[in-house]
Symmetry: C2
Subunit: 138 residues, 2 copies
DNA sequence: TGACACTGCTTGTATTTTGCAAGTGGATGC
DNA sequence: GCATCCACTTGCAAAATACAAGCAGTGTCA
């Protein structure tokens, strides 16, 4: 680690171009499988994805389980530590919505609209829902 | 741009290992000069710093002015677009405070303590203060 | 039982980004 | 008028990323 600054700590863990996008896919789009992450429009390379998933698991931001139905499949889900990235993701979204100089996807607006007014209470509600969705061996 | 997702938009602009640290130095530590940014404990290289400052100015997150007293000096300050990164920075700090596995700098706690309880109102107050500090030709 | 396809990866290599050290040109100080 | 400060720039090595191909384990169907 380069310093003991809390901001730097977060940046060193998820401050790359891919980690938060993987979290987003888990959080808002119900993605759970390796192949699903690969198909996101940003186009992550397969070795990068493998690398980030391993890192996020090591940091206990996501967890990895075998799919009991299909033995070759692996299910990824968020831990509470991962779910608590929600306020960060929403605040980045709200900033972009305010300042983006390109046209943003209007569907994503619906996700942000929940956060737009009173952030903390809405975030609490969303967190509870996510905790249910991402409970182990769901 | 890789996609029209609001989260991705933010990541593509300030989602590297240095940009938010520069913003932090402007926001909380009153740094205004090139040399001051160089001296931060994370140790940014001078070419990286020059590159990021140029990018942040191009994105209108910071502004660049000549110091009227010392003509060789250049003053950097935040625009409102830059000041509005505050909720993002605070939410990263709060997450780190909750989950960091290393010992964090306790001085930074004081910055976060403002945000800890009721985020939006505190953020509004901090934003107003920053707008004054970073008004052009201050 | 064997051929084929799907799954989550790994491996190899080209390209890009970053990091480090040294240097540059225009003030400023004495 | 010479050294020093300031905001950079340049050159090169090292690391991270992107792209393409391959591979082992499982499932599917004949």
């Amino acid at each position: 680690m380069r310093s003991d600054c809390p901001l730097n700590y977060g940046i060193e863990i998820f401050g790359d171009k891919w980690s938060l996008l993987i979290i987003r896919d888990l959080m808002f789009f119900g993605k759970r499988y390796y192949n699903e992450f690969l198909q996101s429009t940003e186009g992550i390379a397969t070795n990068m994805l493998a690398d980030r998933l391993a890192m996020l698991e090591k940091e206990k931001i996501i967890r990895k389980e075998k799919d009991s139905q299909h033995k070759q499949k692996i299910i990824y889900s968020l831990t509470e530590k991962g779910i608590d990235l929600l306020p960060i993701i929403l605040s980045i979204g709200l900033w972009s919505e305010k300042y983006a100089t390109i046209e943003l996807n209007p569907n994503r607006d619906m996700i942000l609209s929940d956060a737009r007014k009173s952030v903390p209470r809405r975030v609490e509600k969303m967190k509870k829902k996510l905790l249910k969705e991402h409970s182990p061996t769901a």
